[in-house]
């Protein structure tokens, strides 16, 4: 497969979520990345799915500190 072969939208889209998760093997990751550089509609979809994932991971980052600190400390003390 030459460097300039494009994988096409259908193939890129089926791999998009794994691309965002960084779970594709290197070769496939690069192929998807190449396609996204030239395809506006797939890139727009990438932006959306990435941002949704970021909102989800922000839930964890923004969680208030646990109120059960003392309970857990006491629990461990008793081990």
């Amino acid at each position: 497969m030459s460097d300039t072969d494009d994988m096409g939208c259908e193939r890129a889209l089926t791999r998009l979520l794994e691309f965002i998760d960084r779970e594709l093997p290197d070769g496939e990751h690069d192929s998807v990345e190449r396609h996204l550089r030239t395809c506006r509609s797939c890139f727009s979809r990438l932006e959306f799915e990435s941002r949704l994932k970021q909102r989800l991971s922000a839930l964890s980052a923004e969680d208030a500190p646990s109120k059960s600190r003392d309970r857990i400390r006491d629990l461990i003390k008793g081990f």
Binding site: L17, E23, S41, L56, S60, S68, I76
Partner: protein, 205 residues
């Protein structure tokens, strides 16, 4: 089982590690149990089990993943006890739940307006944290577990596969379906808020 060559974690180090990730632990517990009291109990029970299983901790660098695994497994085994017909309920996964994948992007994206507006981005901007939490809470359990582990807590597919004791391929496909279900849920949540834009102008697949 302890080997002579390895040093198992000390109580002080264990406490430091646990307190260091208590926030995320509690967050996962709350999203899985959907109940603050149950979440606190789940964390406490998991910490107890973790201490008992400390010999299985390979190295302290792996503490977070190891602890999340124990918490998830504790949740699943507690749920199995609570269900009347555990095998049936927990294995519901494949059977015709979706009417095809749901995509908010496909519903909202309008390629010809690209320079003027971005309806799908506006949709995300208007979503509140509680909308996301509400949508997560409304998901069937087997979907909620994988999304919380993968997207909220950022575990890799391999870690999730180990946690749930399923093949990586199962994690992959379940996650894809879970995300579709989540988007469908978010769409509903948004509609209930009156946030859903009209589709009058759009091309719609």
């Amino acid at each position: 089982m302890r080997t002579g060559a390895e040093v198992t974690i000390s109580k002080e180090a264990f406490e430091t590690q646990v307190l260091g990730i208590l926030g995320p632990l509690h967050g996962v517990a709350r999203r899985l149990t959907r109940n603050e009291t149950d979440a606190e109990d789940l964390v406490a029970e998991s910490v107890t089990r973790a201490w008992r299983a400390r010999g299985s901790l390979a190295d302290t660098g792996a503490f977070r993943g190891w602890m999340f695994r124990i918490l998830t497994n504790t949740f699943i085994s507690e749920r199995r006890k609570a269900l009347v017909r555990p095998r049936e309920e927990l294995l519901v996964d494949e059977c015709g739940e979706e009417e095809g994948a749901f995509s908010i992007f496909e519903r909202l994206h309008q390629p010809f307006l690209l320079w003027f507006s971005n309806p799908e981005q506006e949709f995300l901007d208007k979503l509140l944290r509680e909308d996301l939490d509400r949508a997560l809470a409304a998901l069937p359990e087997h979907y909620r577990v994988v999304i919380v582990l993968a997207d909220v807590e950022g575990l890799k597919y391999g870690e999730i596969a180990e946690t749930l004791d399923v093949p990586v391929g199962t994690v992959r496909s379940r996650l894809a379906r879970a995300r579709s279900a989540l988007q469908r849920m978010l769409w509903t949540v948004a509609r209930d808020h009156g946030l859903q834009p009209s589709r009058a102008a759009g091309t719609h697949r």
